[in-house]
Symmetry: C2
Subunit: 269 residues, 2 copies
């Protein structure tokens, strides 16, 4: 079993992969696009990529890839994110990290490093690697990265809000069987912005008591103001109520894409 | 009249500001946070910041600032975005731009500049300024930036999808009177993820035939899976149907914040 993830070593994606499968071999990629491509090219058996963070919201690139390609979500993992400030030196001139990590520590940086240059890079662990090459660079990254890249931990838990959890999805080829505690993810296009169209669709779910855990709009990329809706609901596509409701919804919308039924994540690790 | 915008000169924000008010004085800021801060500190009379792009979706920082501060949307402007590749040299080693612009040209870069380093910076016009300092740097920025920073236009209209429009909001202090073609923006917190709660709220609007032009979820930043909803609707808060419906909605939700009633934008300029 080979899992494709965002690298290099020490990334939060690696944490997610270890939580999902302790014994799998990991293959590291430069960005989310490449990690998903690897699965499409059969270079890996599954890929694990971030989809949502409790502070920053959705990773929109991941949402867009789920729409563009024939991918199946086969699982989800949640990881508690604790950012550290790591460096070899003391006189920091540049702080590097992934843009989402920089956002999550925005206030910390403004307060403590007002005149330092902030430079976004492709991943938190790449930032750590770069910090290992110059004393003037500090990285915002995981505690694990300090060990891997020989950096000192200058500060810990520096994110602006303490509760910081990232949800990763496991992408693969076959829908796992129902476990009794599952989620189903769909993408719906309502066709034209008819007033009340979304209301009607939500009514179908409400009528059957199906709990929606997430609803999010994304642009169709055609016209400004034209949206797709990403909906997560509780239940498995094999359950009668879910299956029948989705069939009914399908007749009322422009497009319905089922992107996976999978076991719901346990508490964040 | 002084308008605060994202700079430096030649930014798409400048285009938006010129569209909104041709004679106003412009003051340039490094990032969205600073442009909004300037308004809160009364350094400018209004600020104009991007809120949504037809390809990339919402500018989440802007959404978050609308929740955090007492700001009023007093207008909106839409601008057609045409990205150009600008440089002084021919042998490009680094391509710089704002992260959203880089995303909008992702396929173009992958196809034409596979081995070139891609570096996100704070704005498209900053990228242009940096490109004017080194022949090895190309910027993805507006056509106007080429003139301002003395760069050659190597390629035009390089965004992956041709329809590329950004919506800017004008933030100020006083709600403008109704014009007959207005929009109202609100933020709603449903309190606990009760199944069907969103459905009930949408029902209030549907019942009165109020058209929702946008609905988007953002994390509350407390717990993963807990969301605020940003809703744009057609109509002005002074209209009876809108006012009454919002009063009714208010009694059914944990929080309702009205962030502005303003004239709807004309076609993108």
């Amino acid at each position: 079993m080979i899992i494709g993830i965002l690298g290099p070593e020490g990334s939060f994606s690696e944490k997610a992969a270890n939580q999902w499968n302790k014994v799998a071999k990991l293959r590291y990629y430069d960005d989310i696009l490449d990690a998903v491509d690897a699965l499409l090219r059969n270079e890996v058996d599954t890929s694990i990529v971030p989809i949502e963070n409790s502070l920053e919201g959705s990773v929109t690139l991941t949402l867009d890839l789920l729409m563009e390609h024939q991918l199946k979500i086969i699982g989800e993992v949640t990881v508690r994110i604790k950012h550290c400030l790591l460096s070899k030196g003391d006189e920091i001139k540049i702080i590097m990290s992934h843009p989402q990590a920089l956002s999550q520590c925005r206030k910390y940086i403004k307060t403590n490093f007002k005149d330092v240059e902030v430079r976004p890079v492709l991943s938190t662990s790449l930032a750590a690697r770069l910090a290992s090459e110059s004393k003037e660079i500090a990285a915002i990254a995981s505690r694990e990265s300090a060990g891997i890249y020989g950096l000192r931990i200058l500060d810990e838990n520096i994110q602006d809000v303490n509760e910081n959890v990232t949800r990763f999805i496991v992408i693969g080829k076959n829908t796992p069987p129902a476990t009794g505690n599952d989620k189903t993810s769909i993408i719906v296009y309502l066709e034209k912005n008819r007033p009340g169209a979304l209301y009607e669709i939500l009514g179908e779910f409400a009528e059957k008591g199906i709990d929606l855990t997430k609803i999010e709009s994304r642009p169709t990329k055609k016209i400004l103001g034209d949206y797709l809706f990403y909906i997560d609901l509780k239940g498995h596509i094999e359950e009668k109520a879910i299956k029948e409701t989705l069939e009914k919804v399908k007749t009322r919308v422009g497009m319905l894409k089922i992107i996976g039924s999978y076991p719901a994540a346990k508490n964040p690790g």
